[in-house]
Amino acid sequence: MTLQQIIQEYLIKQAGIEPSKFDDPEMMLADLGLDSLGVVEMLYEVEDRYGFQVQDPYRYGTMRFVDIVADLESTIRARNNGELPEPKAAKA
């Protein structure tokens, strides 16, 4: 599963986001209608699998969804010698 798929799956299954929203590459995080705690819960899906905590998560509030995924990926690569490791399985 790609990083984007992990986050999308969480948002659709757990946070009840309409799947068609992700068809628009210009979609902003704000368009998802998450509150601040909802954003933090979404990021935890990535943090839990890759073992790090995102710095200053609220900067994502004004970013496009695809840019947030790219930012997370570059953060993960920077922590892993440029690699994107296999994510740890999600906890039940």
Binding site: L37, V40, E41, L43, Y44, E47, D48, G51, F52, Q53, R79, N80
Partner: protein
């Protein structure tokens, strides 16, 4: 709004229970009447280190009763949500016409979100190990963002308030074994003095986890397994008693302004009419007869009843050596000559010690006994301790009784004593 200067009468109009004895009010009460307990070997993560450990757990099938959005809550909150749902349905709260600002929730819990707190610490230490092994590639600080709202002690009160739009007072009492008895007593006064029309009271506890369990074990107050029948390991008032058994569960009682409840034609289980609350101010764990006596007398005084009017007493009765003797002496002092004729049972022999939930579960069983005329027994009481000479309703339920009023005692570590009195509306 009722005039606060005129004390209002307060009644119980709904009961919900989720206990080791059953997944609901009727199932829990029916099994208690059979005198059949739910005490068994503790779960494997505990017996692995403490092979003799005992516990009274709620049937794991309870998770099927959870709403989808309750899956992530702490176990104690989950139990409270289910018990409060049953109680509200029982009270036909859908017919309430009270303003939401006049509705409250008063909860009692001893150790808060113990399961979530233990999982948090476990995860931190597990990740510390991984962090060291991975030279820092894994951070030990990544934990679930909802960890705090899951483990906070007022999680159950918050959940019930949000689920039912209760916008009046939301109180949480954490007073060890007296927690939910105090929540009920304070809710009684809140309605009595006109601040609210109805309150969901709930007691809940779920802490049968290895970390908490080893802490209880270190106090040396836990029962040893009975060599013949494990379910019979907790024997209040028996000369062979060896301590209490930790249980888990929840009970909810809907308290309502009596006049409002009568106007809407609600079924009335009982009138709450006396509440006593005292502190021993002497020892952190040892009980004090004086403190217990004062709580019972305060409750009697508030109820305006003579001691002889109480026709059943659900004892705190933990099955510790000291506790049962001190409580027996206190009951004799308070009730005098009537003590010999007063049935006094401890249902902890069957459902274990539910700590923060104990007061609510035991008051619920007391009310159901009063209403049905069938007194729940002290199960497995074979050989009474010569120092515990009251009528302890040994082993079998007593049917066909006329109970006009009853008392339930809850006495906590920390020296906080609570006594509650309920009156039979049919009497």
């Amino acid at each position: 709004m009722p005039n606060p200067a005129t004390p209002q009468r307060v009644v119980v109009t709904g009961i919900g229970m989720l206990t080791p004895l059953g997944l609901g009010r009727e199932a829990s009460f029916a099994r208690a009447l059979l005198g059949e307990g739910a005490i068994a070997a503790a779960p494997e993560p505990i017996t692995r280190w403490l092979p003799q450990a005992l516990a009274a757990c709620v049937d794991p099938a309870f998770t099927a009763m959870l709403d989808k959005n309750e899956a992530g809550l702490d176990r104690a909150t989950q139990l409270a949500m289910i018990a409060s749902r049953e109680a509200l349905r029982d009270a036909q709260s859908e017919k309430w016409q009270y303003p939401p600002e006049r509705l409250g929730v008063f909860a009692g819990i001893g150790m808060g979100g113990s399961t979530s707190l233990e999982a948090l610490y476990l995860r931190f230490h597990e990740q510390l190990r991984r962090s060291i092994e991975s030279n820092g590639a894994v951070s030990p600080t990544v934990v679930h963002p909802l960890s705090v709202p899951r483990l906070m002690s007022n999680a159950a009160a918050a959940g019930i308030s949000m689920a039912n739009q209760l916008r009046g007072p939301s109180h949480t009492y954490s007073v060890a074994c007296s927690s939910s008895a105090m929540a009920i007593g304070e809710a009684f006064r809140n309605i009595r003095h006109g601040y609210t029309d109805a309150i969901v009271t709930v007691g809940t506890e779920a802490m049968i986890n290895p970390g908490v369990f080893i802490a209880w074990n270190a106090l040396r107050v836990m029962a040893k397994p009975d060599s013949v029948k494990v379910a019979a390991s907790c024997r209040p008032f028996d000369r062979d008693r060896s301590g209490f058994v930790l249980g888990e569960g929840a009970a909810a009682l809907i308290l309502e302004n009596a006049e409002c409840a009568q106007q809407r034609g609600a079924r009335i289980y009982a009138e709450v009419c006396g509440y006593g609350s005292s502190s021993d101010a002497s020892h952190i764990t040892l009980p004090s007869r004086d403190g217990q006596v004062r709580a019972m007398q305060m409750a009697l005084c508030e109820s305006g009843m003579a001691p002889a009017a109480i026709q059943y007493l659900n004892a705190h009765g933990t099955a510790t050596d000291t506790g049962d003797v001190v409580e027996t002496e206190g009951i004799k002092l308070v009730f005098g000559d009537h003590a010999a004729a007063l049935p006094v049972s401890s249902t902890k022999s069957m459902h274990g010690h539910l700590i923060g939930a104990g007061g609510a579960v035991e008051l619920a069983l007391t009310i159901l006994s009063m209403r049905s005329g069938s007194i729940v027994p002290t199960a497995y009481l074979e050989n009474p301790d010569p120092r515990c000479t009251l009528d302890h309703v040994p082993r079998v339920a007593r049917h066909g009784q006329r109970i006009g009023a009853a008392m339930s005692n809850s006495f906590a570590f920390g020296g906080t004593n609570v006594s509650l009195i309920v009156r039979n509306p049919a009497a």
